[in-house]
């Protein structure tokens, strides 16, 4: 009989809060967020790096939580879709997606928002090509992308005019 590796007790920094949790070393960040922390906004899609539905932001960069171990995320700043709206007020990217019809079934939307938020933080005035590149790791099977790209451009304009 083999003995399973011991659980790791760790503090993760998620959306600015420290969260204590215990998980096995083979658990991905996606699994820990959804199953141990209870943050189910991050979606599991292909779980193989082929879709982008599980995108979260780690240390200001969008990464795939399905191909990141939770143990590798200790000591890093994790941001999920739950941390994007502030005090009940939607982020301009979220509002723009809703207003422009950039979400249909909505399953890819949390991942798209995380990619878009990270893009606009790094590049506040992206060209259409920059937006397409920034979202090139997120599949959407409903919209055809046009409305999503327009929404990110609209959010970019709103963020810049608010400055």
């Amino acid at each position: 009989m083999s003995i399973a590796p011991a659980k790791i007790l760790a503090s993760l920094s998620i959306n600015g809060s420290v969260v204590e949790c215990a998980f096995n070393p083979n658990k991905t960040l996606l699994e820990v967020l959804r199953e141990d922390v209870g943050l189910t906004g991050t979606k599991h899609g292909c779980e193989m790096g082929h879709c982008g539905a599980c995108t979260v932001i780690v240390d200001d960069l969008p990464v795939l939580s399905c191909l990141t171990l939770a143990v590798e995320s200790i000591g890093h700043e994790i941001r999920t879709i739950e941390g994007v709206a502030r005090d009940g007020v939607l982020h301009p990217v979220q509002r723009a997606l809703a207003e422009s019809g950039g979400a249909q079934c909505g399953y890819c939307t949390p991942g798209i928002i995380m990619s878009a938020v990270a893009l606009l933080e790094q590049n506040p005035a992206p060209t259409r090509e920059d937006v397409a590149q920034g979202l090139s790791g997120n599949l959407c099977r409903c919209t055809g992308y046009t409305k999503i790209i327009e929404a990110v451009e609209n959010a970019s304009a709103e963020l810049r005019s608010a400055r």
Binding site: P5, P25, N26, E47, G49, V63, V71, S115, G137
Partner: protein
Amino acid sequence: MLRLPPFEYHAATSAEEAVSLLARFGPDALPVSGGTDLYANMKQRLFTPKVLVGLRPIADLQFIAYNAVTGLALGALATLTDIADSPVVRKYYPALAQAAALISTPQLRNTGTIGGNICLDTRCNYYNQNLDWRKALNYCMKKDGDICRVAPGSPKCVAVNSSDTAPVLQAFGARVHLTSPTGTRELPIAEFFLDDGMFAWARRHDEIVTKIVIPPPAGDTRSAYRKLRLRNSFDFPILGVAAVVQLDGAGKCVAAKLVLNAVSSRPVEVSEAARALVGSALSPETIGDAADAAFRAGRPLDNTSATIPYRKRMVRVFAQRALEDAARAVPLAD
């Protein structure tokens, strides 16, 4: 859900600690840097290591350093995003920046590393499948089976090297530095890649790649990379072509390297293409001759997406485009 098989995880904070952990746990242990290739393969049960040695915390292997005398040194843990965005890589080794920028997706380039990319597992339609799929076919020789499903008479596995940076690094004459518990060694990257889909790298189990060094560009050196895939994101190459040419003051080609990838278990250097180019100016005729040589050297098998005849024809087209890109590239200012 597709879960990872159980393993123990040991984070290393130095190359020496990493290789001592690998030696301690033996072949049941695997090193992992970004994990973007390994974790997906582990979910498909292509690898079930008992121990993973995490290299991510090794801060002093994340560098990108350029020096006009010694050239470019890339720490094995430099991310593909960092390499694609690096001003010195873009200036002196544009084909490498192009190749890094074409890998997979932004999210995976933020995580994936150059050391991991040259150790990318070879790929095949009959191998990169989940356990049930492979079991239904009674497996293949690369994992759990006896014969090659692509070429049943083949004595060796023909899975393809699918790294975008590998052919570029080989065209630039890069050298790979490795560390093991007994010391360090370096070898030309062409010798790091082996012609067997199952044993495709010269890395021993207790070694890790620590850095990759590329000589400084000589004179008017120009480079380009072209990638064929079905979608312009996510996909691995089904053909990659790296071209590096050096011109003299009169525009005559004095040195050339053309390297193909995703057509064999290791990058394929087309020396006949170099012979077609060296000694003359880059013209439609010489580029055409070099592309014809690439066409003859590129022998894709039925183990990636798209048909063999299409991929074979595209070798000529993409070799020509890569050489045209290099010919058109802006020369380096002194």
